[in-house]
């Protein structure tokens, strides 16, 4: 039987988010709860986290250009605005840990340290991509950095992540698995089944729900029967926690607690990051400002850009100067430029290779 500890850590800040979310909006200034985190991070660490968020942002903004230039086949789901969840959670992981993600996974694989050009090449369908161009934007797995699944069936990744955690536990490797998914996915059956199992078996896993308030065009208020996904932890006797998902320090702190718990054998945590995507569900399909999202809501969340929040805080603390920030941004921009160039130089895979790798350990099917 799993430990039936339930710590529904919902701080002042989260409560504010909640009451604002109820009205479909969120206005939030730096609160006491936000400031509290400062002490736990070194300046170097914070700079690293900021750099990760910047990389994700500029990488994805580049994708907007590239999709317009016709370089990206298929569907493209960006996480612009949600960088704090990716950067914060991954900051709490070790290199040997596993990450499982979804159709909206560029940020996660970049935060794990994948080579940006290979991720971009994958999105372009090139042979240099992390999956040799077979997966594309929705499937940017990169096993070399522990991202062992990028799954585009909503809810489908949770059992797989749970299995990775089981495998790690059985092998006694001390690895933790972080499983990213959306608010929409939290209504799917596999969410329920996976959390039940992880609780029973005290698996080393952190379920990270990026609650961006929408599943495609569906508002969570019409599809999710509770205010907070995290409250569902009660139903599995595990820890649940809501954090401000745009506050990378809050995310990192909560993630560090959950990861530590998982690694020390105390089982899973359900960590909910309240956040928002600045762009459409999918590039191209719907206008950037979706008809289903009130303009004021979008604007309010844009005000709470996770990158601006952290930069503002670092500046206020005197931990960085404006000049250093500009320098960092310029470096990252160059890196992204370089990634795009290299990705575009990579060839398309040769057509007949399509018949390879259907089965492991074999050539093409006869």
């Amino acid at each position: 039987m799993a430990p039936s500890l339930f710590c529904y850590n919902w701080g002042v800040c989260a409560r504010t988010i909640d009451s604002l979310c109820k009205r479909g909006m969120l206005y939030l200034e730096a609160s006491a709860a936000l400031r509290r985190c400062r002490i736990d991070f070194s300046t170097a660490e914070l700079q690293q986290v900021l750099r990760t968020m910047l990389l994700i942002r500029l990488f994805e903004e580049r994708l907007v250009t590239e999709v317009q230039a016709g370089n990206i086949p298929g569907m493209l789901h960006l996480a612009v605005g949600q960088e704090a969840a990716a950067a914060g959670v991954c900051a709490a992981l070790k290199p040997e840990d596993y990450v499982v993600t979804t159709h909206r996974g560029h940020g996660h694989v970049l935060a794990r340290g994948a080579e940006p050009w290979r991720v971009m090449a994958e999105i372009f369908g090139r042979s240099g991509g992390t999956c040799g161009g077979r997966g594309g934007s929705m499937h940017v797995a990169d096993f070399s950095v522990g991202v062992i699944c990028a799954d585009a069936i909503v809810g489908g990744c949770l059992p797989i992540a749970t299995g990775a955690a089981l495998g790690a536990k059985m092998r006694g490797e001390g690895r933790v698995t972080a499983c990213f998914f959306g608010d929409g996915a939290s209504n799917q059956g596999p969410f329920h089944e996976s959390l039940n199992l992880a609780s029973l078996w005290a698996l080393p896993i952190v379920y990270v729900c990026e609650n961006n308030l929408y599943g495609a065009s569906s508002p969570a208020r019409e599809t999710l029967s509770v205010q907070d996904v995290a409250v569902r932890a009660v139903g599995y006797g595990i820890a649940g926690e809501v954090v401000d998902g745009n506050d990378v320090m809050a995310v990192a702190e909560a993630a560090a607690r959950a990861v530590e718990k998982a690694r020390s054998g105390q089982g899973p945590t359900l960590l909910e990051c309240k956040t928002y995507r600045f762009r459409s569900h999918m590039e191209g399909r719907t206008p950037a400002s979706d008809p289903y999202r009130p303009e004021a809501e979008v604007a309010a969340w844009r005000e709470r850009c996770p990158i601006d929040l952290l930069q503002g805080r670092l500046l206020a603390q005197g931990a960085v100067s404006r000049q250093e920030l500009e320098q960092m941004r310029a470096q990252v921009a160059t890196e992204v430029e370089e990634a795009a160039r290299k990705a575009l130089e990579s060839d398309y895979p040769s057509p007949a290779d399509a018949l390879l790798h259907v089965y492991a350990g074999e050539g093409p099917p006869e």
Binding site: G74, G125, G135, H139
Partner: protein
């Protein structure tokens, strides 16, 4: 006659049937706010109660339709891309398919499950399959798969009026394609194939967007003196055996072009039906050919994807090979 898109035709069918019968309602994860997009139009006309936005729970949505149908409603469930429908496979194959029979005919289940299918748009392996073969072996389901706006509208109306669970497969490649659709009401019955082009030398059975491919290939080959007959089954269950066997009885040659996998795809069943029919078999003068998706998950990268899906060139080659193999 006016021309409308395939997607419009399907929507019109739903709209008309919803006006015509208050028990018909629509549910799915794709329902937009009132006024926005196609489902938004439905929502505006019929209200939130009859055009229901659901959570992303295909299994439960499919089961809810069963219960609602048992309680006297006539639900239409949109599962969107057919790979998502696999999440609901149990509800459809174990529950919906068996309900009427297992309970001795106590209730019927007038349900339509919409699903789109097909590759060619870089959707990668989880968004590009053509999964109807997996349902084809499940008794109790009907399966429609139209190739034109006209058929789409007529079949959707029949599907909604049918008292059984009908899987309505929409070829993703056809959504924006246009064709003539009369203003006045009509139905296309389930179980009736259509010869889309008359021919004498070879029968090409084609489904969905493959019908257009087949028609194009047939036109090309006409200049080589080969007259291909293009047969569109339109529904896989019930299947119009008579039309198939008549055509093959006439031409003596059979090629099937289909987007589902070569192994155990829809083409296998078509081939088997011909080979077990004494007349059709007797008429068959050359081996049957299947032009299908290669037996691989659909790859993302466009050059790879193009390589594994059926093309006019592959079809043309298969037709030529088959005709050449048939002793005149």
């Amino acid at each position: 006659m006016r021309e409308i898109t395939f997607a419009e035709a399907v929507l019109e069918a739903i709209q008309e049937e919803m006006r015509h019968d208050s028990r018909v309602f629509y549910m799915g994860i794709d329902v937009s706010p009132p006024g926005v997009g196609a489902t938004g139009r439905l929502r505006q006309e019929f209200g939130d109660a009859r055009v229901r936005l659901t959570p992303i729970t295909e299994a439960t949505n499919s089961g809810v339709a069963i219960g609602a149908a048992a309680a006297g409603m006539r639900p239409i469930v949109n599962l969107l891309i057919c790979n998502f429908g696999f999440v609901a496979f149990d509800q459809i194959a174990n529950h919906a398919a068996n309900f009427h029979y297992m309970y001795g005919g106590q209730a019927s289940l007038p349900i339509v499950y919409r699903q789109s299918f097909g590759a060619g748009r870089a959707g990668a392996a989880q968004h590009s399959s053509s999964v109807y073969p997996s349902y084809l072996s499940v008794p109790g389901l009907k399966i429609a798969l139209p190739s034109t706006p006209y058929d789409a509208k007529g079949l959707m109306k029949s599907a909604i009026r049918d008292d059984n669970p009908v899987l309505f497969f929409e070829d993703g490649a056809l959504g924006g394609s246009t064709g003539p659709v009369p203003e006045e009401e009509y139905l296309v019955p389930l179980g009736r194939a259509e010869v889309k082009r008359q021919g004498t030398d070879i029968t090409v059975v084609a489904l969905g967007s493959m019908v257009r491919l087949a028609l194009e290939a047939a036109e090309d080959l006409a200049s080589d003196g080969i007259q291909a007959e293009v047969l569109d089954p339109r529904t896989l269950v019930p299947f119009d055996d008579g039309a198939l066997c008549r055509s093959v009885g006439k031409t003596g040659c059979l090629v099937i072009v289909d987007q589902s996998s070569r192994t155990a795809g829809a083409a296998a069943e078509v081939a088997a039906r011909v080979c077990e029919d004494p007349q059709a078999f007797a008429a068959l003068r050359a081996p049957v050919a299947r032009v299908c998706c290669e037996d691989v998950p659909i790859p993302f990268s466009p050059p790879l994807e193009r390589y594994v899906i059926p093309s006019k060139e592959k079809l043309r080659a298969a037709i030529l090979r088959t005709v050449q193999r048939s002793p005149a």
